[in-house]
Amino acid sequence: MATSETQVVAGIGNDYKFGFHDAENYFFKSGRGLSREIVEAISAHKDEPQWMRDFRLKSLEYFEARPMPSWGGDLSGIDFENIYYYIKPTENQAKSWEDLPPDIKQTWDRLGIPEAERKFLAGVGAQYESEVVYHKLQADLEAKGVLFLDMDSGLREHEELVRQYFGTIIPQNDNKFAALNSAVWSGGSFIYVPPGVSIEMPLQAYFRINAENMGQFERTLIIVDEGAYVHYVEGCTAPIYTTDSLHSAVVEIIVKPGGRCRYTTIQNWSNNVYNLVTKRAVAYENATMEWVDGNLGSKQTMKYPAIWLMGEGAHGEVLSIAFAGNGQHQDAGGKAVHVAPNTTSVITSKSISKDGGRSSYRGLLEVAKGAHGARSKVVCDALILDEESRTDTYPYIRIDENDVDIGHEATVSKIGEEQLFYLMSRGLSEAEAAAMIVSGFVEPITKELPLEYAVELNRLIQLQMEGSVG
């Protein structure tokens, strides 16, 4: 007889492919725990200007003053004193993969990054622990004035531009984890796209945690000037350890009039990583901001990419997929804040929960007084694969304007026995049938991805559905 649906989904997510780790031959590794001294040491190591050092120390005060969030996920397992806040793996950044230490290079090879760069990327940044160890941008884009650097180099080489925007979209005291990032940030991407420049191929950053109890705090700032376009993609993985690591990023994006920015995340952390990220963009007149957010890994994710629609005619989209397996809680969603008239937004969230996993949609839709003619649509669909798993929806809506058009839809469904039987009657195994139903469920999002990422996402889903029978 066929195995039951419960058997099929049991063990999904147990075969994480990226759980290997390298030996630690680091240039510099801080002690465990967080203090004023550690923050000063990070700043000194980077030879930063005084204003950044002060910004960090002030942020540390905010971090210490703020209580842990009491909403969202269970964060009681985070031991801030047990974390390494800064690890510099190599002395210098490489311009060629060959210049990296062999084990680190091999890690990137296993993750397929150099190959992807050759095939379809306009630029790549590769962050290992706290520092971006490899960085490269195509020469023709450099010639057009595009800046794509790691954040530390960005600060060194374009201090005035960084200072103008850094911390303006997400203030250092925005929330406890944004304050933490502001105090100990390291790495991340700095991107500036000049007016009218359209970058056809994506820029990619890849984030890898290697050490146990590592804290990774990258900081990204993207400025898309008038009429310009960029698609930025980030991916992330980590080894499997018995104790937890922390990833807490801050991403700030400015899209000027008529510009367009798409930010795609394929988050595939191992199941011992707390992933607590603040992402926010502002979009001015007729600008478009799109977040495509795929969350497959981590122990606990709390992430709600936000768009502030500041200029008339601005458009924002959030496409979010969450896949919660055994021991995982994906608390994800999106925020759209309509400040200007005739702005539009769409939030589409798809979540899959299996093997006791929990996924929550948490979203905010806000229309300020005067943002007349605002239109917004929020769609949340949840798919639950077994009885042990859970899904919740927390949609917050605040409307202070009468002339608006707002829609909200939510569905919860299960994989039906009849649907599985139908597919199996065509020769698909139960796992293949379930994977096909799940791929179809997330198709509205994968079809928005460049082909290579759609294939990658489907492959990851396939991988999580396989090896689960028997």
């Binding site: 007889m1 066929a2 649907q419 009657s425 020769g427 179809g440």
Partner: protein, 259 residues
């Protein structure tokens, strides 16, 4: 050795209600068998039980393909042995296109035929075969890019079932009320498609309420199925008699004339 052999088959639902009783039937390649019965006679239960639906239990008897029992096999393994069921009510799979579904199904069966090793069909070859089958069954080209059965009309679903059959080349096709919901033109095309596949490589069991489809798929054998059992068997003339006299004439008298 018979292709499909059903011996003394008893099928019950999960609550123990017996739906099919003591059924014997043999289907060989080159043969079309019609199983005709009124509503509620247990025809669809039989179809599901043959395919291995988990909601139906075989309480007695056996089902064999090439002389081997398939009772312990899941629906996927039965399909891999060459069994195909055209559903009366096919299910929708939103987000999965007809073409992508068919390719996955074809590859799953090729993998099974290749001893569990992947043996994917070459894409140009697959496309050629799909285009040819779609043309033959008058399935519009754009259907290949639509999500499987999602928002399809009744007739579209039935045609796509037969398209699946053509692409998967089964050895035994069971068609469950494929004629329902089809207009005369569609019926002719679908029936022609089925008849074209029956031959040395395939036999078919056509389950239906009406004789209509049998005008286009000439059956070699007709079985009248009432209340979970076969009450009469014969050649094509039996279908015509049934159409003229109705099922009433075939409902057996209670034994001993009592109750």
């Amino acid at each position: 050795m018979a292709l499909l052999e059903i011996k003394n088959l008893h099928v019950a639902t999960e609550d123990g209600t017996e739906i099919v009783r003591d059924l014997d039937l043999t289907v060989n390649s080159n043969e079309v068998h019609a199983m005709m019965g009124p509503n509620g006679s247990g025809k669809s239960t039989l179809a599901y039980a043959l395919m291995g639906h988990p909601a139906y239990e075989i309480t007695d008897g056996d089902i064999l393909i090439d002389g081997e029992s398939i009772l312990e096999l899941g629906a996927d393994e039965r399909a891999q042995r060459g069994l195909f069921l055209a559903f009366q009510y096919p299910h929708a799979v939103p987000g999965v296109t007809v073409a992508s579904f068919l390719r996955t199904a074809v590859n799953a069966q090729r993998k099974a035929a290749n001893g569990g090793e992947d043996d994917p069909v070459k894409i140009p070859e697959f496309r050629k075969q799909l285009t040819a089958s779609m043309e033959q069954l008058k399935v519009p080209k754009e259907m290949a890019g639509r999500y499987l059965n999602d928002g399809f009309s009744g007739g579209e679903k039935k045609r796509v079932e037969i398209l699946q059959m053509a692409m998967l080349s089964p050895r035994i096709a069971v068609l469950d009320e494929t004629d329902s919901g089809l207009d005369i033109d569609a019926l002719r095309i679908v029936a022609g498609g089925v008849r074209g596949l029956v031959g040395p490589e395939m036999g078919a069991l056509v389950i239906t309420h009406y004789q209509r489809i049998l005008n286009y798929i000439k059956p070699d054998f007709v079985h009248v199925f009432v209340d979970g059992r076969i009450v009469r068997e014969g050649g094509p003339e039996l279908a015509e008699q049934l159409e003229a006299d109705g099922y009433e004439a075939f409902i057996p008298e209670p034994v001993g004339g009592e109750s």
